[in-house]
């Protein structure tokens, strides 16, 4: 029961709180802290996996060691590559199924032909010159990181909750960025300040600010474009007005360009050689290299053949596509100039996906993506480090909450690193012929991640930082050894063969392992000090 004195005290405190003048900086600091904490865990995952996704083709290539990189440089829809594709088509072509031919490019050295639609696709990978088929192991490769990045690997066909959670976290990030700029009053004067040797809260704050301020334009652009990418989900007014809210109908109308174009009845008949369509498409799109052909069977008529240009032609992806009647070769959907709104959307998407600027741009996106993840990580760690200094004044509930935050930090940051490297290890360790092999790789990723959470709970943050990051470092640094033991390949053989894509992947993994080792030492020491204070106080509170 609350006594009168206590009731009066509470009322007086509430009155004093109300009489305080509104302090915008204090309010924004609270917003920065709590939005940063709640969205930060998710944003770390989004940024880390997004950075990996920048090099998705390279990572996937590493995860499919059966695909050999040809020594020649036969890229695009060259006559010899087309010849290989047509020979395969004559042998295995299916007139009643959707098909896609993807020509080799600088990042994907093999020729790929796939049949089937969503959920049931059979893909053949082959040498673009000899036609020798590769049999790559069943893996999602870096597509898994991509799915985790933008929809938390939740199947989009079952529901769209993954998109919404990522979108909410991104919107919160934009609020955190703006509030961070406002509350940091000496932002330009302290632009170069990073006192790494200072006491811990100061060093972490400096590090968090330095990373965040320099990466600010990138973080803002990447967050905004990430939201604008899925405008039809987050701002569904247009879809509601035009399609009565039917997202499926909207998506169908967006993707049915080839089938729907042209009008007029098309006569059934044997499909012309693929080279015919490529030649016509090259004439229609002289500025673009041909990247792929999509073949869509239509009811009662000949197939529609859609030739698409290369994506790497600038921020705005106006490489274009031309659709032909498969039997007659007539254009059924000519290359149309995109509408201004389409160009704007294309600009936004191009800016987010970095399909421009070549490898230099990809490296910049990769590094700054990791810097973004580092900003989130330093902010999360700072939350507990700062609070360890005022543990004496905190309630028991607060102390328990801070302990929990410290452990969740370990599970999210170190656990994700450990799960990611485990995913690469699983790719080499699991038997190639295993049923549902790709799913097993993903299961291993999530099992390791959940185990990391349990481990952090049981061991405490200090030990968990050391052990999880230490193990991740060990696994990353020994990945070339595992690769050699299982595949007789490693960075040295890749360099000798001129396979610089796989070489870079392995080198970056090892470099990240070294970084994880350094972080294990640093974070372990900090958390040991913070955790011992927390635990000492909790024991006192319990006794």
């Amino acid at each position: 029961m609350v006594s009168n004195d206590q009731g009066a005290g509470v009322a007086a405190a509430a009155s004093a709180e109300q009489s305080k003048p509104f302090n915008a900086t204090a309010s924004l600091t609270r917003l920065h802290t709590w939005f940063g904490l709640t969205a930060g865990w998710l944003l770390f995952v989004i940024f880390f996996t997004g950075s990996l996704t920048v090099f998705a083709p390279e990572i996937t290539l590493w995860m499919q060691p059966e695909v050999s990189v040809p020594s020649h440089s036969e890229l695009g829809a060259t006559p010899r590559t087309l010849q290989t594709a047509e020979a395969f088509w004559a042998d295995k072509g299916q007139s009643d199924a959707r098909a896609m031919v993807r020509f080799p490019d600088t990042r994907n050295p093999d020729l790929r032909i796939s049949f089937g639609g969503r959920g049931d696709i059979k893909t053949y990978a082959m040498d673009p010159l000899t036609g020798v088929q590769f049999e790559p192991r069943d893996t999602m490769g870096a597509q898994f990181f991509r799915a985790l990045h933008y929809r938390l690997n939740i199947d989009r066909r079952s529901n769209e909750i993954g998109f919404w959670i990522v979108g909410l976290a991104t919107a919160m990030m934009l609020a955190v960025l703006i509030s961070g700029v406002i509350i940091h009053k000496r932002i330009f004067r302290e632009l170069f300040v990073f006192r790494s040797r200072s006491a811990y809260p100061r060093a972490w704050l400096d590090g968090h600010t330095a990373l965040g301020v320099f990466a600010l334009p990138f973080l803002f652009v990447i967050g905004f474009t990430g939201l604008a990418y899925f405008y039809f989900l987050y701002m569904p007014a247009g879809v509601s007005a035009l399609f009565d809210g039917d997202q499926a109908a909207f998506r169908q109308s967006m993707s049915q360009s080839a089938q729907g174009g042209g009008g007029g009845k098309r006569e059934a008949g044997a499909m012309l050689p693929l080279s015919t369509f490529v030649e016509k498409a090259e004439a229609a799109m002289p500025r673009s290299e041909m990247a792929s052909i999509r073949i869509t069977p239509s009811k009662g008529g000949a197939s529609v053949v859609e030739v698409r240009g290369s994506r790497d032609v600038g921020i705005v992806r106006d490489a274009g596509r031309v659709a032909f009647d498969g039997a007659s070769g007539d254009i059924v959907q000519p290359l149309a100039a995109p509408l201004p709104a389409e160009r704007l959307q294309s600009f936004v998407v191009g800016l987010h996906l970095a399909w421009f600027g070549g490898y230099a741009m990809h490296w910049l996106y990769f590094v700054l993506g990791l810097v973004g993840a580092g900003t989130m990580a330093t902010g999360l760690v700072m939350f507990t480090v700062k609070r360890s200094a005022r543990i004496d004044r905190a309630s028991r509930a607060d102390r328990l909450w801070w302990l929990a935050v410290g452990r969740i930090n370990v599970a999210v940051i170190a656990g994700l690193a450990l799960a990611s490297i485990s995913y690469l290890w699983a790719n080499r360790v699991l038997a190639v012929g295993l049923e549902e092999r790709a799913m097993f790789e993903i299961r291993i990723f999530f099992v390791v991640w959940v185990a990391a959470l349990l481990h952090a709970y049981l061991r405490g943050a200090a030990m968990a930082w050391r052990e999880q990051l230490g193990l991740a470092a060990l696994m990353a640094c020994s990945l070339p050894v595992l690769n050699w033991m299982t595949m007789r390949q490693w960075a040295g053989t890749y360099a000798a063969d001129g396979d610089w894509q796989r070489f870079s992947v392995e080198l970056v993994v090892v470099a990240m392992g070294v970084g994880a080792a350094a972080a294990a030492i640093k974070l372990g020491n900090i958390s040991a000090a913070a955790e011992s204070t927390f635990q000492r106080r909790n024991v006192e509170a319990l006794t």
């Binding site: 170069f192 990073f194 330095a210 320099f214 600027g357 741009m361 996106y365």
Partner: protein, 107 residues
Amino acid sequence: MIAAAFCLAYCGLSGLAASQTHRKRDIPHVVATRIPSWLLRIFGTLALLASLWVCLSIWPIDEGIVAWILVAATSGIAVVGVLSLAPGGFWWFLSLAAIAGGAALGL
């Protein structure tokens, strides 16, 4: 060429950082330089503009500006890192090495 842009941005931001060493409360952990602040600011700004020019000579204007922002951000983080690790002479040595490297690559 992208390396030249990076080196120039690194030099420019080093110059701007050095111009802040006269007031101890701005970058308290860094050894002060005797070069006047205004000179360092002009040098820094020119080096950053040169870095932008290099980016625009590699890419079209839209891609070039995006690339320059990313290059400046990356080199800025590098400057901050070097400043924290070596606030004394080594930092100046690295900046001079970056100038030489940028000039060599640019040529």
